[in-house]
């Protein structure tokens, strides 16, 4: 383990995946706005925020856990479980409150998949051009 999983040139990057997730969130929100389904917008925004936050927290927790130069911090299990419980609580509140459209929320959550797909495509394209 060499520090905080530093990104080598040419190595896959998590920050760029995060940027792609934000980009796909923008595309999804824009698509919903263009389609004129404004009722879905808040749900999609919340879903995208949760997807991004979940990815960000997973990265932070695991990077911190594996940054000990060979040793693994044991506290990361507690942090990971707490993050999961927090995520479940937020999802419960969003779905059961009734303030947000559930379909929009699911669309927003899909930004994670779209972002990772975009990142994979971009990486494949850059490997092909090299």
């Amino acid at each position: 383990m060499t520090g905080h999983a530093k990104e080598e040139p040419g190595a896959p990057s998590l920050r760029s995946a995060e940027r792609k997730i934000l980009l796909s969130a923008g595309v999804v929100l824009g698509g919903i706005a263009v389609a004129g389904r404004f009722r879905m917008l808040p749900g999609a925004a919340v879903g995208a925020a949760i997807a991004y936050g979940n990815f960000f927290l997973i990265r932070k927790i695991l990077e911190k856990a594996f940054s000990g130069g060979g040793s693994v911090r044991k506290g990361f299990i507690v942090q990971y479980v707490l993050k999961f419980f927090g995520l479940v609580a937020v999802v419960y509140l969003v779905v059961r409150s009734g303030w947000f459209d559930v379909l929009g929320f699911l669309l927003g959550l899909s930004c994670l998949f779209l972002g990772v797909l975009l990142e994979g495509l971009a990486r494949a394209a850059s490997m092909k051009t090299k």
Binding site: M1, T2, A5, K6, E7, E8, A11, P12, S13, L14, A17, A51, N54, F55, I58, R59, L62, F66, G70, F84, L87, V88, V91, Y92, V95, R96, V102, F105, L106, L109, L112, F113, V116, E119
Partner: protein, 110 residues
């Protein structure tokens, strides 16, 4: 082979058990003149989240085990293994969250 047979037997037993309960409920509901939709909604929510969490846990466990084994064998390849592992964990977890959302929606219909 034996494991597969045992698994198939247990699965068949589970299906028979669920079916008998469902049919019993159907009979009771029909006798009462009511609907048993709520029973099936509860079953769907419960089984849905159970199957999703089972699969997610299995997948995450496999991903972490394989990733850590790879890092232990070749510590210099940490970055190349670690980053796809995190991406995989996030994807698996979001699938479970999808199932959770669907389960909440179903429970809201009870």
């Amino acid at each position: 082979m034996f494991r597969r047979l045992t698994f198939s037997f247990l699965l068949a037993l589970l299906l028979v058990a669920v079916a008998s309960v469902a049919f019993a409920e159907e009979g009771a509901a029909a006798a009462a003149g009511g609907s048993n939709v709520k029973t099936f909604i509860a079953l769907a929510a419960g089984f849905g989240i159970a199957i999703a969490s089972f699969g997610g846990a299995l997948g995450q466990g496999k991903a972490i085990a394989a990733g850590l084994e790879g890092i232990a064998r070749n510590p210099s390849a940490q970055n190349k293994i670690f980053i796809p592992m995190i991406v995989g964990l996030a994807l698996i977890e979001s699938l479970v969250i999808y199932a959770l959302v669907i389960a909440f929606v179903l429970v809201g219909k009870l």
